[in-house]
């Protein structure tokens, strides 16, 4: 079980959080013209890197804030976490 540092609450065990997927995904702007391919890339396609990965977590059983984590998908090392409007401080 991982130990994750919520940027609002501090270190908590993984069972308080839910995983929110790739943190690099940007939703296309509302109303923007977008090709089916680009839309499908946004909806369905995700990189699956071995190593460092920026991802989202949701402190569901805590402060209910979404935040970013930089995690190694192979070793589970979490290098840094930050609020959505921040950049990783490394």
């Amino acid at each position: 079980m991982l130990e994750i540092k919520c940027p609002y609450c501090g270190k908590r065990s993984q069972n308080e959080f839910s995983y929110g997927g790739d943190g690099n995904i940007k939703r296309p702007a509302l109303g923007a013209e977008i090709s089916t391919k680009d839309w499908d890339d946004f909806v369905y396609f995700r990189d699956n890197p071995r190593g460092r990965h920026t991802e989202l977590w949701h402190h569901v059983s805590g402060c209910r804030q979404w935040f970013k984590a930089s995690r190694d998908t192979a070793t589970h090392e979490i290098f840094s976490t930050c609020k959505m409007n921040e950049d990783f401080n490394e």
Binding site: M1, L2, E3, S13, G20, W39, V43, W66, H76
Partner: protein, 999 residues
């Protein structure tokens, strides 16, 4: 005669004043307080414990603790019966009942032993080879026979009556193992002020200090250990746990420990758990788990009476028990001589067989000083004795130690063997440590760490007391300094131990001339040297493949005594060094853990939280039959007298259509939405338009996922300019809230909106039926509830006496209907008030079944239709999709597949005979007799008995459904073997124009 195998002069840790009675295979025995089941049986001369896994060979004890591969027993009886327990790990308690397993009809006469005579049919890989053909034989013939023959213990069939608990702990330093290095590191870390947990698997602390004749400071090793433990116990920053095995090392320094809380207590008090699981998140973990002695492979080295030398010593020194009175000590190193000395202390003269040419070690000299002639350059070739060892063939080895040059048979009643020591690296390896091979000790030791884990002492290959203490104090101090600023260093005490000379690199004896006895490597899985040879001959090279093909090291003991001997043998044949062969992976649990402990208190109703509405007690008092809806418990129906479920549901639903019914809808998700951008946010979340919803009005909304599938639906009301009240389905309430938070926090943080779950804050009661308005008028006399003042989708704040209430005119049943919300605490009061007020209108409560009937008849979609595979078009909600704005998931709706004309769409179904019920989940086909695979046109999502038309009715999702109306199909349910001819009709079966809700 009992306890005839007790020592005369060893000073152990048992209490001979307290006799404990127990039975084994139905016979009564006596042991003493402090005995294990193993030591008590050995003290009574019982060595035949069970039969081996594959060949059903008689087996006894090899070890004294967690390393034991053979002596597995079935403990207790009835619902407490427990299989596969190591007898070495069971503390004796009054009345304990144990029996052998894996034998039939008895341990002494076992029919499966014929496997031993037929062993050419059970070579390495026998599962893969022997039972592959013919295929049809697998399930009917091979599998049941193998199961019966190879079965281990028997699991009880009734629920476990004991209590198990979980505990979460945090500490700076966790020390695993209380031998010399563990004790010194715990003491150093604790004195420096760190929060320390010290875990010991055994009942007694001290590890090797309990068995070795050493001094620390001016105390014996054993005295020093108990002194350190009492110091640690007196410190507030230290938790000391015996009978506690740290069996798993997971990510981010999460370790899991298994504590045997009351297994050793005769009558534990009522709420004392049997066992406890501790999740320990440690800042640093010190792995001081010690080492396990290696066996030696020689002919028939698995007979009862053949022990590890260290185990024999511990039986004497801790349990005052003799494993035999005519011992042979067989060794490739000095440590076994300590066992010889302990025998000599009890006036027993062992025969000593040493593979080495000589040794000048202190222990060796001491043994020789007793007048014992050590047989150097010798080995044990074979043994005899069917149910217990009776004699051994001993021989002198040739120069290369590849053959015996002379053989001699000597009588014995036990062999104590020692092949040196294997550091217990399991936890370090689980933690991700890359092990390295240390050629000085011929074993793997921890090397490059991935987590905050440090192995010390013999777990790190430091086999002398001096080294262990030095490492322990140093590492304990250094690691604790990360957590405290005290900088208090504890001095290392002086110590004294016998000097030992190197071991010989020889772990497998040659075969005696002309004979081919089995030389076992893995006792628990019955893997012999010949199996490894065969695997290599057949071309298996990777050690992971050899492991799986031979099953070497794959048993419950995880190869604690067999892994290295297996690797060594492979490397000998392959003419490689061991590190080139590599090693297999260690995985948790290090020792077996009961399922009960893993589950803890999460059993039965405690498996998940139970959510009850504030009206629950009323439902209970009125004979409700409940159903679980997610975590909620909801009334399913309220049977009266002898009513069946169908009777009750039809009555409840018909009463709504005719009079008025009320339903507890508290479980619907409720979300409070506030902020200047709230209308814009809803406009993006829902498929329909929200900007112009007037204050005081509700609107039905549908939300999609980005992939265009319907996610949830519900009614949302505008309470004021910037304040909305959203409702969700019961099932999706939590997911919808997370979804809203995601879009507000991650995607559109510029929107000024806050969302908050208020599901628990409001009780909700639906009042539905043609007489609902009359009821409501009487309930709220000061409110104008006429169709003009409170039209469909209107809402009004009201008061029930002094209680604030909110009335929504919304309908799920399709009837004229309202929903009244009050604060949760008043829910029961409101319910009772409605029942009281409504009696003159024939009010009746209705449960989830009638609720479903009412919505199905109306063609209203719910969970079974919103299954994550339907877009709005499919379920008749295309009218809800705005063409004039963008929203979540909209772009997906214009993809080719989503605008295809023949998509599956919602329809109604009526059985042609107007009688047969259509099972939910049935497939819709044209011809159920057609050759398979029969083309499937759709499926039945929801079924009910239509109280309006008095015949069955279903909703289905059907390919090109709109064009199928009027056609006849067949609903096939292969699970129930039912086929029902059906006619396709509109899904709006009752009141298709929706006039009632607006009446």
């Amino acid at each position: 005669m009992s306890n005839q195998y007790r020592t005369s002069n060893s000073k152990g840790l048992i209490n001979k004043e307290k006799i404990i009675n127990f039975t084994f295979n139905g016979s009564s025995y006596q042991g003493y307080e402090g005995d294990t089941l193993a030591s008590a049986l050995i003290a009574n001369g019982v060595h035949l414990i069970g039969r081996s896994f594959k060949y059903h060979r008689p087996r006894g004890f090899l070890g004294v603790g967690v390393e034991e591969p053979n002596a597995m027993v079935q403990l207790h009886e009835g619902d407490r019966s427990e299989p596969n327990i190591m007898a070495t790990e069971v503390e004796l308690v009054e009345g304990l009942k144990a029996k052998s397993q894996n034998c039939w009809p008895s341990v002494k006469f076992d029919i499966g032993e014929i496997n031993n005579l037929l062993n050419r049919f059970f070579p390495a890989g026998f599962y893969y080879k022997t039972f592959m053909w013919p295929k049809s034989f697998w399930f009917k013939v091979y599998e049941p026979i193998i199961r019966k023959a190879a079965g281990m213990g028997v699991a009880p069939l009734s629920p476990d009556p004991d209590r198990y608990e979980h505990n979460y702990e945090h500490c700076d330093v966790l020390v695993v193992g209380s031998g010399p290095s563990g004790l010194s590191s715990a003491l150093a870390a604790a004195k420096n002020g760190a929060r320390v947990i010290l875990a010991e698997d055994k009942a007694h602390f001290g590890g090797s200090l309990l068995n070795d004749d050493v001094t620390i400071g001016n105390m014996s090793g054993r005295e020093w250990a108990s002194d350190v433990i009492s110091q640690l116990k007196s410190m507030p920053n230290v938790v000391v746990k015996n009978r506690s095995q740290v069996f798993g090392y997971y990510d981010h320094n999460m370790t899991v420990m298994f504590e045997r809380v009351s297994d050793h207590i005769e009558n534990p008090s009522k709420y004392t758990p049997r066992q406890r699981l501790h999740y320990i998140r440690a800042g640093e973990v010190i792995v001081s788990t010690g080492s396990i002695e290696r066996p030696i492979s020689f002919g028939n080295n698995d007979r009862p009476g053949i022990f590890l030398s260290s185990a024999a010593r511990e039986y004497m020194k801790v349990y005052e028990t003799l494993v035999g009175k005519k011992p042979i000590i067989f060794t490739n190193n000095d440590s076994a001589y300590a066992t010889a000395l302990e025998f000599l202390r009890n006036d027993i003269k062992p025969i000593i067989v040493d593979t080495r040419d000589s040794s000048e070690g202190q222990l060796v000299k001491e043994v020789q000083g007793h007048g014992i002639a050590v047989r150097f350059n010798s080995g044990v070739a074979n043994t005899k004795g069917h149910l217990k060892i009776k004699s051994a063939t001993i021989g002198t080895l040739d120069g290369q130690k590849e053959n015996f040059i002379s053989l001699e048979e000597v009588e014995c009643d036990c062999i104590c063997m020692s092949g040196g020591w294997t550091p217990t690296v399991h936890l370090s390896s689980q933690a991700g440590n890359k092990l390295k091979f240390n050629e000085d000790i011929d074993a793997y030791v921890p090397d490059k760490k991935r987590q905050k884990e440090t192995a010390i002492g013999s777990a790190n290959g430091a086999f002398t007391l001096n080294q262990s203490l030095a490492e322990g104090f140093q590492v304990g101090f250094e690691l604790s300094n990360k957590f405290t600023s005290n900088n208090i260093k504890t001095d290392v005490p002086t110590s004294n131990e016998p000097d030992q000379k190197p071991h010989e690199k020889l772990w497998c004896m040659p075969l005696p001339n002309g004979q081919k006895p089995k030389r076992f490597i893995d006792f628990q899985n019955d893997v012999a040297v010949s199996d490894v040879e065969l695997a290599l001959r057949e071309g298996f090279r990777s050690i992971e493949h050899v492991k799986r093909y031979t099953t070497l090291g794959m048993a419950g003991d995880q190869g604690k005594t067999s892994n290295l001997n297996g690797l060594q043998y492979v490397s000998n044949i392959e003419k490689k060094i061991v590190p080139e062969v590599g090693h297999t992976t260690f995985r948790p649990p290090y020792t077996p853990v009961t399922i009960g402990t893993i589950v803890g208190r999460e059993v039965g109703n405690h498996y998940l939280p139970t959510r009850k509405t504030p009206i629950h007690t009323w439902h209970e008092e009125h004979n409700a039959v409940f159903v679980a809806v997610g975590l909620w418990v909801r009334p399913r129906y309220y049977p009266r007298g002898t009513e069946t479920m169908n009777d009750a549901v039809n009555r409840e639903a018909a009463n709504v259509r005719k009079n008025v019914g009320i339903c507890d809808v508290t479980t619907l998700g409720k979300i409070d939405i506030k902020g200047p951008d709230a209308p814009e946010f809803l406009n993006r979340v829902y498929t329909n338009a929200w900007l112009k919803l007037p204050v005081g009005k509700a609107r039905y909304g549908v939300m999609l996922r980005e992939d265009g599938m319907v996610f949830d639906d519900g009614t949302t009301s505008r309470l004021s300019e910037n304040h909305f009240h959203m409702t969700t389905t019961t099932a999706q309430a939590a997911n919808v809230l997370s979804h809203l938070e995601y879009y507000l926090q991650v995607v559109w943080p510029d929107l000024d909106v806050n969302v908050l779950s208020t599901t628990e804050q409001w009780a909700g009661i639906a009042i539905a039926g043609p007489k609902s308005r009359e009821l409501l008028a009487k309930l709220f006399p000061s409110i104008d509830v006429s169709n003009e003042s409170l039209p469909f989708m209107g809402l009004v704040d009201a008061k029930l006496g002094d209680i604030p209430a909110r009335i929504y005119r919304i309908s799920f049943s399709g009837e004229l209907a309202y929903e009244v919300n009050v604060e949760s605490n008043y829910g029961l009061h409101l319910w009772k008030k409605i029942m009281e007020t409504g009696s003159e209108f024939g009010v009746q409560p209705y449960g989830t079944e009638a609720l479903a009937t009412l919505r199905i008849e109306m063609g209203h979609v719910a969970g079974p239709e919103l299954d994550g595979r339907t877009i709005p078009y499919d379920i008749g909600l295309n009218g809800m999709v705005s063409q004039n704005k963008d929203f979540i998931g909209k772009r997906s709706l214009s993809k080719d597949a989503f605008i295809s004309e023949d998509r599956q769409t919602i329809v109604g179904l009526v059985p042609v005979d107007k009688k047969s019920k259509i099972p939910e989940g049935s497939h819709l086909v044209v011809d159920d007799k057609a050759p398979t695979p029969i083309p499937k046109l759709g499926h039945v999502s929801s079924s009910c008995w239509s109280v309006e038309y008095n015949n069955p009715f279903s909703i289905a999702i059907l390919k090109d459904g709109k064009k199928q109306i009027g056609k006849k199909l067949i609903a096939v349910c292969p699970l129930k073997d039912i086929s029902v001819p059906v006619e396709v009709v509109s899904s709006h079966y009752v009141d298709p124009k929706g006039e009632r809700v607006r009446s």
